[in-house]
Amino acid sequence: MKRQPVSLSEFLIERAIQVFGISAIVLVALIFFFLIREGVPAFFEVPLSSLFGARWYPIEDYFGLWPLILGSLIITLGAAILSLPLGLATAIFIAEIAPTWVRDILKPFVEVLAGIPSVVIGFIGMLVFAPALRVALNLPTGLTAFSGILLLAWMALPTIVSVAEDVLDSVPTTYRDAGLALGMTRWQVIWRIVLPAGRSGVLTALMLGVGRAIGETMTVMMVTGNAPRLPLTPADLFMPARTMTATIAAEMGEVAQGSPHYHVLFAVGLTLFVITFVVNMAAAMVVFRQVKRGERMLS
C-alpha cells in the first residue's frame, strides 16, 4: 500500500470545509451589518420619544416599540415555560422509560410533528383552537397572547423532544449500569446520572426550542390578534398582543423603501437579533462552564 503524503483532493477538501466554515460566520456578520445599516437611521429619523412610546401605528408616525417588544417577550417566555418541562419529560420518557416498541412509534411521530408547516398550525389555531379557548375561558375573543403561547409551545415541543432524546440516548450505558449496580432506583439514575451527564445537550435542545418560538411569525400572526397593546398585567395574557416578527411580516411588503417606517422595521429586526444573540450567548456561557466542570470531574 502506497501512501501519498498530502494528496490534492485532501487539500481541496480541507480548503472547501474551511471556506464553508468561514462563510457561516461571514453570513451572520453580513446580516448584522445589513440590519445595522438599514435599522440605525431609524434612531435619527424618528424622535426617541416616539420610538419608546406606548403606541404603534406606523401609518400615522407612531413608532412606539414597547408593545411589540413586550408582546414578543411574554409570548416567547410563556411558550418556553410551557414547553420546557413538557418537552424534557417527553424526551426522558422516550429515551429512558418507554419500552422499545413504544419508542419506535413515538420517535418518528414526534419528528413528523416537527415538520408541520407553521401556517398549518396557525390555521388550526385560528379555526379550531381560538374559538374553543374563547368559549372555555369566557374571553371577549380567542385571538389572544395565550393562544399564541399554546401553539408556539406545541411547535417548540418536537424540536426539544427530538434533540433532548438524542442527547439522553448518547449518554453511555455504562453510566446507567454503574448507577444501577450501586443500588440506585431508576428515577435516581435518570435524575442524578443521565440528565447531568447530558446537561449541555439538553440545554441546547431547550435553546433550539425557544429559538423556534421567538422567531416564529406565521402562527402568531394568525392567532394573537396583532393588537399593539402594552401587556403589563397577567390579565393581558388573555388579551390580544402583537409580536415583532408579525409586525415585520405584515408591514414590510407595503412600506416605501428608505422611509422612516422602513428603517424602523429594520430597527425592530435589529432588536430581535440582539435579543436572540444575548439569549444564545448566555446559553453558550452556561454550556461552556459546565463542560469545564465536567472535565474537572473526569480528570
Binding site: R103, D104, I105, R176, R229, R242, E251, E254, A256
Partner: protein, 303 residues
C-alpha cells in the same frame, strides 16, 4: 428489565406506515391532467395589489383568457400598497388599489420615470359586519367611529346585549383600513386625528375577519361587500343621526345612499398600450362589469 439500551436503531416500520398513508392520500388527489393548456400565451400581463380586488381581478383574468388565449394575466394580491410599490418599482403592468395613489408613491414613481395612470374599474361598499346572533341592526357613522376608537366598549351602549365589543380590522397596509380610518373613524374630516383603539385586532386577511365574525358574538368588523358571506350580518348605516339607515347593496351604493362606499382603481405605468390597453377596455365593457355585479361589487359606467 434494565440496561437493554444503547445505540439501537430506530425501526423503519413506522416510517413506512406513514409513507403508505401519505401515498394513499396523495394518490387520491392525483389524477392524470386532461385539460392542460396547449398553446403558451404570447403576452403576459402582471397584475398585483389590493386584496379587496383580488377575486374580481382573478375572475376577469380567467374570463378574458378563455376568450383571448394569446394573453395570460397573472393576478396576485398583497394589498394596495404592495401593488402600487410594485408598479413604482416597475415589476407589474397593472396595480390594483382600493384607494387612490398617495402623493409620496406618486413622487417615488416619477423619480423612477413612471407616470401612473388611474382607472376607476368598479365601486365597492364597505360593510360593517357582526355575528348573525347580534340583535343590533343599524348604527350611525358617529357610533361606528366611537366603537372603533374605543369610546364605546360594550354592546349595551348601542342597544345590544351585555357583551364586550371586540374590534376587528384589516392590517394597516390594507387600502380598506386607510379608507375606514379616514372616512369612518375621522368622518372624512382631515383635521380629525382619531385613531383606532389599541385593542383593535389587526388581522392579516379578509378571511381572518370572516372567521372571527362568524364565530364570535362579541365581534364587529368591516370589509368589502364582496367578502361578506351569508353567515355574517351586515349593519345598516346612516350618515348622521336622524337620517335614514341604508343597508349596503349595489342599489344603495349607486344611488349614493349608503355612506361607506368608494371607488376601486387600477393603475398602469404610463398610458397603457397593446395588450394592457385592450384588457383595460374590456374590463370597462358591459360583459366584464357583469362579473363585478356577480361578485358583490358595484359596476361602473351606469348601465
Amino acid at each position: 428489565m434494565h440496561s437493554m439500551r444503547g445505540q439501537h436503531k430506530t425501526s423503519i416500520i413506522p416510517y413506512c406506515l406513514l409513507l403508505l398513508i401519505g401515498g394513499a392520500l396523495l394518490g387520491s388527489g392525483c389524477r392524470p391532467q386532461t385539460d392542460t393548456p396547449v398553446a403558451a400565451a404570447a403576452t403576459a400581463i402582471q397584475n398585483k395589489g389590493s386584496d379587496t380586488l383580488v377575486n374580481l381581478a382573478l375572475a376577469w383574468a380567467e374570463r378574458y383568457q378563455s376568450v383571448h388565449p394569446e394573453v395570460s394575466v397573472a393576478v396576485t394580491g398583497g394589498g394596495s400598497g404592495t401593488g402600487l410599490t410594485a408598479l413604482v418599482n416597475g415589476t407589474v403592468d397593472i396595480a390594483n388599489a382600493s384607494r387612490q395613489i398617495k402623493a409620496e408613491e406618486m413622487t417615488a414613481a416619477e423619480a423612477n420615470g413612471i407616470t401612473p395612470m388611474e382607472f376607476v374599474i368598479a365601486r365597492d361598499a364597505i360593510a360593517v359586519v357582526v355575528h348573525p346572533s347580534n340583535p343590533v341592526d343599524q348604527l350611525t357613522l358617529q357610533q361606528i367611529s366611537d366603537i372603533f376608537s374605543g369610546k364605546i366598549t360594550r354592546w349595551t351602549e348601542v342597544g345590544g346585549e351585555d357583551r364586550p365589543i371586540v374590534l376587528l380590522s384589516r392590517e394597516t397596509n390594507s387600502g380598506t383600513h386607510v379608507y375606514f380610518l379616514e372616512e369612518v373613524l375621522r368622518l372624512g374630516d382631515s383635521e380629525n386625528k382619531t385613531l383606532f383603539s389599541t385593542d383593535t385586532l389587526l388581522l392579516p386577511s379578509s378571511e381572518g375577519i370572516g372567521v372571527e365574525v362568524r364565530q364570535n358574538p362579541n365581534a364587529i368588523g368591516y370589509d368589502g361587500l364582496g367578502y361578506v358571506t351569508e353567515d355574517m350580518k351586515t349593519l345598516a348605516v346612516s350618515a348622521a343621526p336622524g337620517e335614514p339607515y341604508w343597508p349596503p347593496t349595489a342599489e344603495t351604493v349607486n344611488a349614493g345612499q349608503y355612506p361607506i362606499a368608494r371607488d376601486l382603481y387600477m393603475y398602469t405605468a404610463g398610458e397603457p398600450t397593446g395588450a394592457i390597453k385592450t384588457y383595460l377596455e374590456w374590463i370597462l365593457s358591459a360583459e366584464a362589469q357583469q362579473i363585478v355585479l356577480d361578485l358583490g361589487f358595484v359596476p361602473v359606467g351606469g348601465e
